[in-house]
Amino acid sequence: MMENLREVTSVLPILVFVVPVGAALLIFALGRMHRIFREALALLGLAVTFAISLVISGRVLSGELLTAWNGNLYVDGLSALMEVLGSALGIVIVLYATKYLPNHQIGLPLSPWRHTYFYGLLVLFMGTLNWTCATNSLIWMWVSLEATTLTSAFLVTFYWQRESMEAGYKYLLLISVGVTLALLGCVLIYAAAIPLLPGENLLHLTEIGNVARLMPESVVLVACAMFVAGFGTKAGLIPFHAWLPDAHAEAPVPVSALLSGIVIKIGAYALARTVTIFAPYYEAVVIFVAILASVSMVIGIVMALVQDDLKRLLAYSSVSQIAYVIEGLGLGTYLGIYGGLFHLVNHTIVKALLFLCAGALMYAAGSRKISELGTVAKKMPVTTFCFFVGALAIGGLPPFNCFMSKLTLFFALADREILWAAIIGIVTGMVTVACFVWAAFRIFWRKPAPTPNPQIAAKSVPFLMQVSMLVLALACILLGVFPQVLYPMLNAATDSILRILGAG
């Protein structure tokens, strides 16, 4: 626990979400003139945001808590982590998208406006993400969370085909309904907490911890149920995950990498801010989250096993992997949260890598169906290597990053005497390995499919896309071999959550 924490008011938390919004507006304005404008502006916006978030995390690591607007914006370890992760992923995705969007098969020739609003919405989405991480009030967090959904809705329906519109419609409708339920939960918690906090009219997330135990128990349980349901829809836990496979399958690959990488993580972040606070005081919440997570883990990966469409397979595996993160966060102990956050970071990297590989495959082979992708290994060595690194990493094999995070999670579960969850986790790990290795085997090494797809590797994968894939693959291996690189950042994030719990 870092004791010497100084509340420092600084302009950074505001900048971190104003800059992307500004950049987005600029893109909307100038984007149509020329390709360079929109891509350069997007990259510039995200680079500046990334720099700001690095400065913020540097200051947070040195023991400062940045606040702005007298406490309404509040950046601690966890939000710094999410901002850094988000903007980093954003940069990689934009790099990938510059090459991917202009010249791939699906969809009619894209008008310049279509490109501009893609980059614009992407950067705007980053802005809303940073705003979610920065706000300190429960209700404002809900508002910004809803804003992220809105900005990413039209990214999903980018192709405006029949399927992508359907996916977009479901994405928007289901998440709005789900997140409205979470609003009910927020209102309940707000109403229960306000009388206990005199002179406080905007319920700060940091203060909830002090009164967590004093609130009436039935209200807290109902609110937790609402939170889990609402933010669970956003994160994609089983009964509420319906939008996830369709949105991932139909959205363009950079967007699905974004969805899988950051969007569901915002759901997990929201749960970390709300449900984890009640974990130490209400054993039922911990057990409930563990049950729900185990169910989503198993059913998610079981459904992934049989998918023929590569992106739907990756979507279902996201359902199963995010369950690990939420199970960790739900435990409420240092090790649990540390493991959950560690897996959150690892999964973002691995899943983004796998989606980019899927994109490269679609780019070269023009098809998403595993049955139609026969032996492409020889023609696409980099993609094969990256996909295998991703497959082995997500399975949780030692030299890669998910091994350490899953192991930390299992120890946390074992420590909290919930051994059955650990065993389910290990079994799911094995099924994940089997599912991915089998899929990789079918795609890369199997003899060509009975109906040989003519344009297999008609085009070679452009260099920029390969670079972004290699960067992510390298991150997987590096984090696997030197897990303690992330230790200071994760420790700060976990301490920030525990400080909120501890205060209570």
């Binding site: 009030s137 508002v143 809803e146 419609y169 309904v177 209102v187 109403a191």
Partner: protein
């Protein structure tokens, strides 16, 4: 004391009218009429806010009713009206006819009121929420929310789904009044802008779907199986 009681039964009547219009908005098959019903319902929501302002002597509630008036009574109906013109007026046949859905709704109202009147502390977090006008307001908001969900569940038409979503948001807006009166206005404006943008995006999407699919029947939107 008198106006309190007078105010009291004024509130009850407003509640009933509000509930009536939301039921109408849900059931009317002609989209234009249901848009009209939803605007009236929002109007009464604003009036409820106003009456609550003078009952609980909380001036900020007047501001709340003003914002509700601007957004919910003017902006959303304008958007709805703008897009409904492109869509067919008649709504596609819902799964359940009017009689069974009305019956279910009444059953739901009875259940929620009886449940809240017996053990209100189960859901009401603080003491003043458990007092008479707030309690029935809470009950009303829960019913309107469940009505909204019911519309989303049963109705097949895309526009009708938007109306269901608006009903749901109004219900939540109502609960805000009783549970979170001290909420600053900016947050409220934030929530309401969110609702507006959602409605606008959904309607634009419904329009595009209608142009490609030819119908606004969301049940047909089920290509992505398995």
């Amino acid at each position: 004391m008198a106006e309190v009681i007078a105010g009291g039964n004024l509130i009850i009547t407003l509640y009933l009218i509000h509930f009536g219009f939301s039921l109408l908005a849900a059931e009317l098959r002609n989209l234009r009429w249901s848009v009209l019903a939803i605007t009236l319902q929002s109007l009464f929501l604003a009036s409820i806010l106003a009456t609550f302002a003078n009952i609980a002597a909380n001036p900020s509630l007047y501001l709340w009713s003003l914002t509700a008036l601007i957004t919910k009574v003017m902006l959303i109906p304008y958007l709805l009206w703008l897009y409904i013109r492109q869509l067919p007026t008649a709504e596609t046949r819902p799964w359940l006819g009017t009689i069974p859905s009305v019956a279910v709704m009444l059953l739901l109202v009875v259940f929620i009121y009886s449940f809240l009147h017996t053990n209100v502390e189960f859901i009401a977090p603080s003491l003043e929420a458990a007092v008479e006008p707030a309690r029935s307001n809470l009950a009303l908001s829960l019913t309107v929310c469940s009505l909204g969900l019911w519309v989303l569940l049963v109705r097949r038409d895309a526009a009708k789904a938007v109306i269901g979503l608006v009903l749901l948001e109004n219900g939540v807006h109502l609960s805000l009044v009783t549970l979170a009166p001290t909420l600053p206005e900016t947050t409220l404006i934030g929530i309401v802008t969110n609702v507006i943008i959602t409605v606008w995006l959904l309607l634009y999407l419904a329009g595009r779907i209608f142009r490609t699919l030819g119908t606004t029947d969301t049940a047909l939107l089920s290509e992505l199986k398995r």
